[in-house]
């Protein structure tokens, strides 16, 4: 199963090679053009020359750690890559470097901690990675300074049509775009799998600059906080509530036109949907919409509980409904159902 394969693969920001490899294998036969750029973004195009040029984007990278030093004991020091809650790090299995050397994020055991230490989360400066070696020499034989450290989780089925795994942000987006790209739409479609989103939307701007589409759609995995201890007003999205349409986040305000496009298509096709009820954090939509003279950009996400942790949950009905919505939206665009005139418009 492609989604399982994508989520189990390792691809911390700046180290997306394995994800690129899977996607190339999966999609090359469906594409007229396949290429990468200097940053590592991966492009698949088909329908070249058709009238509306649409770019679809999902980011390949996930949050993780990077090795910054060795202790004489053979333990590794690491820094975070992207935003991870310190509290989810302790005691998690990881893999380090190209050879996927297994390790665990370690900390003092509970009976050795002072009462005051037990009360607060241990931050990354007081955590280390244990490869099970007994000296710096042995550690240096296995891994290098600067090697990436990825959380390691097997993806499992759970409950009512759910998956538990890591990196649904944004491998679920990668999966959806891969499925979409296997079909044909009456459009000039470029699917872009972007790099380095988690450390500041770094890949997508360059990708949008080179593709220069008439319109872009970004597909994300986003927080669902419909859990104990969160007031309903702060849920952001609800697991199982359908694709989440973003109205505004820290990087982007959705144009009314793309909101209407998603909502009207969902209603026409009877697809459940929700709005993302939070305005925090940024996405590739922010960068893409600000490229060239401005690119009309829409953003839709799959709700995901416990995002940026080694064990998050997505609902497969949400995934399928997002796929249906995206197909519907591409068909509407192909039929000319949205004005995507890249140039200028009369004031209405």
């Amino acid at each position: 199963m492609l989604l399982k394969r994508l989520t189990e693969a390792y691809g911390v920001s700046g180290d997306e090679g394995d994800i690129r490899h899977i996607l190339k294998e999966e999609l090359s036969s469906s594409a007229e053009e396949v290429y990468t750029d200097a940053l590592g973004n991966l492009f698949f195009r088909k329908g070249k020359g058709r009238s509306a040029k649409v770019m679809l984007a999902a980011h390949m990278d996930e949050v993780g750690l990077i090795v910054v030093g060795f202790e004489k004991s053979g333990l590794l020091r690491a820094h975070k890559v992207g935003s991870i809650d310190d509290r989810v790090l302790v005691s998690k299995p990881v893999v380090v470097g190209k050879n996927k050397v297994p390790g665990v994020i370690g900390a003092k055991a509970v009976h050795l901690q002072k009462p005051s230490e037990r009360k607060k989360a241990i931050d990354i400066d007081n955590l280390y990675i244990d490869l099970g070696v007994r000296s710096q020499d042995e550690a240096e034989k296995l891994v290098n300074l600067g090697d990436y450290v990825a959380l390691s989780t097997k993806t499992r089925e759970a409950g009512e049509n759910c998956l538990i795994g890591k990196a649904f942000d944004d491998r679920v987006g990668c999966f959806l775009l891969a499925e979409l790209f296997k079909e044909d739409f009456a459009l000039d479609v470029t699917v872009v799998f972007t790099v380095q989103e988690e450390i500041g939307l770094r890949g997508s701007g360059a990708a949008a600059y080179s593709v220069h589409p008439d319109m872009a759609i970004v597909v994300e995995g986003t927080s669902a906080s419909d859990v104990v201890g969160t007031k309903e007003a702060a849920h952001a999205t609800t697991l199982g509530g359908g694709p989440a349409i973003t109205l505004m986040d820290a990087s982007y305000i959705a144009p009314q036109k793309t909101i209407d496009l998603f909502v009207q298509t969902a209603e026409k096709l009877g697809i459940p949907y929700q709005f993302r009820r939070s305005t925090t954090s940024g996405t590739d939509a922010g960068k893409i919409s600000q490229t060239h003279s401005g690119i009309l950009t829409g953003l839709v996400s799959v709700p995901c509980r416990y995002i940026h942790s080694p064990a998050s949950i997505v609902n497969l009905d949400d995934v399928q409904n997002t796929l249906r919505l995206l197909k519907g939206v591409l068909n509407v665009i192909a039929e000319g159902g949205i004005s995507i005139e890249a140039a200028t418009e009369k004031v209405k």
Binding site: I253, S293, G294
Partner: protein
């Protein structure tokens, strides 16, 4: 000026939803410019064709606001900010939605007022339950302050002086300016308050020879104000720098010389925090020499922003003089063109 400013200030136009302001500006300018159009970011362009230097002059249309994120069972609206909104300023304000629905901002019970955050506030639109509320307001709808423009002496008090005062100055300048060879692109920009977003895409589109922004700036002339040598009523401010731009020294100097020549009072402005559209314009493509004419404004981002009428009129004079002057770009910015 008062009638124009009243219309603009009272219009609804938070970041990303600037269309109503755009329509007012179009009606004002249609007869005196050659072209008028919008783009996908929401900018409004008013163009005076010419054969000379290509000048982009930007005034942002958008104002701060709050976006509805949740409707409670009892009909109260929860929200997040659009731009720099202070919860202490928001408390007790009347807010308005684009369809005319109004509400008041209330607060949960708080042990300590210092703990006030936006999450503790809600908008009450007088609905008796969720159903009634949802029939008037949807998730994602944006509300702005609901205020009429008031006159206090020679000064105006109202919401969105930031930056409808700048829009009014730019409109007046376009209406009153004499003929010039310069090609003028007046851009009423969108989404300035959330990160100079409209001016970024507009300046890329236009690729101008020279950029100018017209925006409000803070002042230091009120009781116990932070140190800042700009006062209300002492004329438009010529910006030296803020957090987003160090104005091109030549553009700054040109503005100063023009003001001296035309006997226009002015002040120099160094703004420690905050930015303006020139911040995005001057970094567009291979760089654009840019400057800013600022209108001093008290109580920025509150519903009681105050500007001085003479400052605005003098800003119009300075802007007009700048736009019509013959510009030999090669002479003025030799390094820029070499």
């Amino acid at each position: 000026m008062k009638q124009l400013l009243k219309k603009l200030s009272e219009a609804y136009g938070p970041s990303g939803r600037e269309e109503q302001v755009g329509r007012i500006i179009r009606d004002e300018l249609e007869s005196c410019v050659d072209e008028i159009y919008t783009d996908s970011t929401g900018n409004l362009y008013a163009v005076k064709k010419g054969t000379g230097a290509k000048i982009m002059v930007a005034a942002h249309m958008d104002e701060i606001g709050v976006i509805v994120t949740f409707i409670e069972e009892k009909g109260f609206l929860r929200f997040s900010n659009v731009g720099g909104v202070n919860p202490y300023v928001l408390l007790g304000q009347r807010m308005i939605f684009p369809n005319g629905t109004i509400g008041t901002v209330g607060m949960e019970k708080l042990e300590d007022i210092k703990k006030l955050t936006l999450e503790k506030l809600y908008i009450d639109i007088g609905a008796k339950d969720k159903e009634e509320a949802a029939s008037k307001v949807k998730i994602g709808d944006v509300a702005t302050y609901y205020r009429e423009l008031g006159e206090a002496g020679n000064r105006f008090i109202g919401k969105a002086m930031d930056n409808r005062a700048g829009c009014a100055v730019l409109i007046k300048a376009l209406q009153e300016m004499s003929k010039t060879d310069n090609e003028i692109y007046a851009v009423f920009t969108a989404q300035e308050e959330v990160g100079l977003r409209g001016s970024r895409t507009a300046s890329y589109r236009l690729n101008p020879d020279l950029g100018l922004a017209v925006d409000v700036t803070l002042v230091g002339d009120t009781p116990e104000a932070p140190t800042m040598d700009v006062s209300l009523g002492k004329g438009p401010a010529i910006k030296v720098k803020d957090a987003s731009v160090i104005c091109h020294p030549k553009v700054k100097e040109m503005l100063e010389k023009l003001a001296d020549k035309e006997n226009i009072p002015y002040q120099l402005e160094v703004l420690v925090a905050g930015g303006t559209d020139a911040g995005a314009i001057h970094l567009s493509r291979d760089g654009v020499p840019s400057g800013v004419i600022s209108i001093p404004c008290r109580y920025v981002h509150t519903p009681g922003e105050m500007v001085d009428q003479d400052d605005m009129l003098n800003a119009v004079r300075l802007l007009t003089a700048f736009l019509v002057q013959p510009l030999n770009m090669q002479e003025i910015f030799p390094c820029y063109l070499s």
